[in-house]
């Protein structure tokens, strides 16, 4: 039954969205929720069917699409992608469950289900073109969500979001075509299958150019400084659900792609560009954290905090060792959960007050204690408190990069300081102090529906913070395979030495087996 589970995961929501067209608009919410629940259940089945001890791809399916040009429908998951898929399904469910009264709710649900398809597709795709298809397609529902349900600047924000990412990914597409061409030159066969590409060892000069091309696409998506300016607009204008999906899943596409494409395909270039990228990451971390501190709109704080955290993820990715990459993948999931939750929380207050300006609030802790508690928990997770989900990822990412550079890690570590500064000051502005505004005095606390969405997130936040093993172990195995691949492929001596070989690990693992 697991043979086609990935395809089912990808296309079930799309099909359901099509059928959703005929569902009455009063019942669409229930319909959407049930579809999302089924989807989530499917993704859980995927998890349970997943063999954590295997490092390679699982549940592979392959259908030829354009054999003449080497384009295939190949899907499969490994530890790297598995959890993001689960997370995507989870957030779709949470998102639909927590949808407040929206106009055109039917369109919203259909769009969300479509979005779910693209998200599952991106992370399951093992063919570059298939990946690109879902990658681009995911822009469309998001464009609609921001543009149709967003704030006053929604059109500007949505177009900016779309065109910016679109531009980057077109450059990436050119890179992909070059990659396929090099593969063709080497083997005489067209292929866009990533696993095939993994076997190709390119000269360093090619790697550098291709890395740069792919980098454009990924960096804008992540978004990395200085390509990040679409994000505040997108988040600022998007409805809650849009921000949640964007922050929780869509941004992860970029960093995921780094691990899936850039690192294993271009190990030497990755090492070559490690420091420039790391410096950008450090700028992202500190600079955007400071910008976040200056914000007046709480949603923008969370938005900029996303950029800051993505910096840590990028840094971990480019650590080129198992600790760092595992950490960055874990942090992707962690940041997904936490930033998703934070956006949901911002949405809660926005629903009540229709403003996100922090100076409109103050003293909410006494008016909405439960809300304040959950917000506080997520805040602490966001600043990377140990035993919350974020810490594991952040710790491992920084730990990993420390092997490469002490100074940069030290600078990146400032994240934990500046992160605390903007988060705590935002929290202080919103929740502490006296309730000064009349309209804030009788705000209702979080209701059942909102709790339904938030409590699971809170549980995950703590659970995976304390016991990350179920997630970390599959990630670890797959990452080890990737790092080993990179090590084996590396051709320059610098790269060989920067990327550690994993094989020596056997003796330690037996030692730890007890």
């Amino acid at each position: 039954m697991f043979d086609h589970i990935l395809s089912i995961l990808i296309f079930f929501p799309a099909l359901a969205a099509l059928f959703g067209v005929v569902v009455d608009k009063d019942s669409i919410r229930a319909y959407g929720l049930s579809v999302a629940v089924v989807e989530f259940a499917l993704s859980l089945m995927l998890w349970f069917g997943f063999d954590a001890s295997v490092s390679g791809m699982q549940f592979m399916e392959q259908v030829s699409l354009i054999p003449a040009f080497g384009v295939n429908y190949i899907v499969g998951v490994d530890g790297i992608s598995l959890f993001i898929i689960v997370l995507a399904a989870f957030f779709t469910m949470i998102g639909i469950a927590s949808l407040t009264d929206t106009k055109n709710v039917k369109n919203m649900i259909i769009t969300l289900l479509m979005l779910q398809m693209t998200m599952a597709g991106v992370f399951a795709a093992l063919d570059a073109i298939l990946f690109y298809v879902f990658w681009e397609l995911s822009l469309v529902p998001m464009l609609y969500i921001i543009g149709a349900w967003g704030g006053p600047l929604r059109v500007y924000a949505s177009i900016k979001f779309f065109l910016y990412t679109f531009t980057g990914s077109l450059v990436m597409l050119v890179g992909m075509l070059f990659m396929a061409y090099f593969y063709f030159q080497a083997t005489g066969v067209w292929s866009f299958a990533i696993l095939d590409w993994y076997r190709l060892i390119l000269p360093q000069s090619y790697q550098l150019w291709l890395f740069a091309a792919f980098f454009m696409g990924f960096a804008i998506k992540v978004p990395m400084f200085p390509f990040h300016t679409w994000l505040p607009y997108a988040h600022g204008q998007a409805p809650t659900i849009g921000s949640v999906m964007l922050a929780a899943i869509l941004l992860k596409m970029g960093t995921y792609a780094f691990i899936r494409f850039s690192l294993p395909l271009f190990p030497d270039a990755s090492v070559f560009f490690m420091f420039p990228v790391a410096i950008i990451a450090v700028i992202m971390i500190i600079y955007t954290a400071m910008v976040a501190y200056a914000q007046e709109d709480v949603k923008q704080v969370v938005a900029y905090s996303s950029v800051s955290h993505m910096g840590v993820i990028v840094l971990g990715t480019f650590a080129m060792n198992v600790e760092g990459i595992s950490g960055s993948i874990f942090l992707m999931i962690a940041h997904g959960v936490v930033s998703g939750a934070l956006f949901l929380l911002v949405g809660v207050i926005y629903d009540r007050r229709h403003t996100k300006m922090m100076d409109q609030f103050g003293g909410l802790a006494s008016v909405m204690p439960r809300y304040a508690t959950i917000f506080g928990l997520m805040l602490m997770a966001s600043v990377g408190l140990p035993l919350t989900i974020n810490f594991v990822g952040e710790f491992l990412s920084l730990l990993g990069f420390y092997e490469q550079s002490h100074i940069i890690t030290l600078l990146a570590g400032i994240a934990i300081i500046v992160g605390a500064i903007y988060m705590l000051s935002a929290y202080k502005k919103m929740f502490f102090g006296e309730v000064t505004r009349e309209e804030n005095k009788n705000l209702p606390d979080v209701n059942k529906r909102e709790l339904l969405a938030l409590i699971p997130l809170a549980i995950i936040t703590v659970w995976l913070g304390i016991y990350p093993k179920p997630v970390l172990e599959p990630i670890n195995n797959s990452v080890e395979a990737v790092v080993q691949l990179m090590h084996d492929k590396a051709i320059t001596p610098e790269a060989k030495s920067a990327i550690p070989s994993v094989i020596k690990k056997d003796e330690t693992s037996t030692q730890e087996a007890h």
């Binding site: 200085p226 300016t229 501190y293 200056a294 408190l385 491992l396 030290l410």
Partner: protein
Amino acid sequence: MELFLYTALFAPFVGSLFAAIFGASPKTIIAGIIPSILLGVSLLSSTVLLVHVLSTGEAVHVEMMTWMHTGNLYIPFGFLVDQVSVTMMMVVTVVSTVVHVYAIGYMSHDKAFNRFFAWLSAFVFSMMILVMSDNFAGLFIGWEGVGVCSWALIGFWYHKESATWAANEAFIMNRIADLGMLIGIFLVYWNTGTLQYHEAFEAMKHLDTGILTTIGIFLFIGAMGKSAQFPLHTWLADAMEGPTPVSALIHAATMVTAGVYLVVRSNELYSLIPNVGLFIASLGAFVAVFAATMALVNRDIKRVIAYSTLSQLGYMFAAAGLGAYWVALFHLMAHAFFKALLFLGGGNVMHAMSDELDPFKMGGLGKTMKATMILMTLASVALAGLFPLAGFFSKDMILEAAFSEHHFIIYTVLLFTAGLTAFYSFRIIALIFHGEDRHTALGFHPHEAYPFMIKAMIPLAILAAIAGFARPYYFDMVIAVLPETEYHIHSAMTYWTMTIGTQLFVIAAIYFAYKKYMSSDIKVPDGTSEMENSFKYKLLINQYYIPYFYEEFLVKPYRALSRVFWKDIDMKIVDGTVDGIANIIYNTGENTRGMQSGNLSTMLKWMVAGLVILLSLAVIFGLTVKYSGV
């Protein structure tokens, strides 16, 4: 024994959860009682463990489960109860049990009673993790855990701006240090391949001194933050915005000593790098006198006690830095008891005075608050280090250590600080309990605290009184894990001279304090007196202008820079470039669309023009080929 270990560790956690369940509901006394009982359980378990460790001399080591495992990194939730950690456990559980019971009374009128206990127990749990962990990562969990609990408890009265500000300050300043700690941990990992204390210290023996020094410095930076050492000390005084039991437990007895614990725990590392140790000791000595001077003039009971805490932490670091780890630990323990007692007494006074903190507005409270007076005096005597209370034994050892290690400057500084300590301690005792009644005029109606609160303080009083005598037994116990450094002054003559001299010096200071502040012409200072306008006073009351410096040169520039980053760089330059490119493209279209004039004649001209341009190019190319080819 594992059962006791888990009980000791998780009982506070259960208590915290229990109280948290009632977090949002109105005050229920049960939310205070249950956690207190559970803490008692934890205390009992710790005692059992202590007995076990004492009797067998063996550490209890368990590994509960894996936390992180990826690549070569393996971090379990492992717990170690050895001689050092059991000491800390006893200190933590004893003080926290007392404080819990005390707080049931102290917080009885607070709306957020339940929340208070949830956080307080959570703090104890974090602290237990901190001291019991068998690896650096676990330590860091506790480290951050106590940080966040401290944040929540300092900002407990969140409607007060000053409280929330102080909470954030504490958290952020601790974070700065935590970064150092984190880097230290990374260094440990990449150099030794493990974070387990045992294995890491084992591996360090083979490492280069340079690396060890770096590790030592970074770990100590972590310790500096938590233990509020200069220059990260400002948060501690501000942290007094929290409820008094919090100050007693967190900011006197336990959390702030975590830094000392870290250094003691890493003794094997610091033994290898004596230079860093010396630096620690010097910094400790400096902080000791630095904080003591600030305490001299402060007009806030709790801040005075906080500065005193800071000063005593300096002592501990001085000891630890000099290699006298067990002395540091011993002083830590003794200090925990009498300082907690002092704070709780201060809490009683505050309660009595409706949260008034200025001792100048009190005076003569001894009449109404006899029990409190006795307890606080006792604690102050212990703090001052008079025989035979706990402070004498522990502090004297530190002085001896400094002396016998021939660090006479440190010795002198510490000795001088001892005098200052005695002076400021009794300054506030005198101002609060003795002298003229200055409060009635201001409309205060002081009353003694609940009897059970007083009773709750009694164990601390007893411990503060007798703990010193446990020194030999204690020594025998901890040398199993700590370096066996006993200090013997070579000549008995010198020893006695020193001891008695110190005692006399202290007594003189106490006398001076009483004399100065019991006089009947003490008035509530109004900023007009000559002393208040002196440079020295201004310097001290403004804490050497360090907070001012931070505000002006760090906080404000940071805020301004953030704004510049946002408004100017992010919006104008970075985003402006993006929009600029888009606008250039769009405007090019807008400005050139006139070319499509819709006039057929123009269109035809365009076509001919295109042809002519092509022709010219062709001719140029053709001629080039013709004349270059030939």
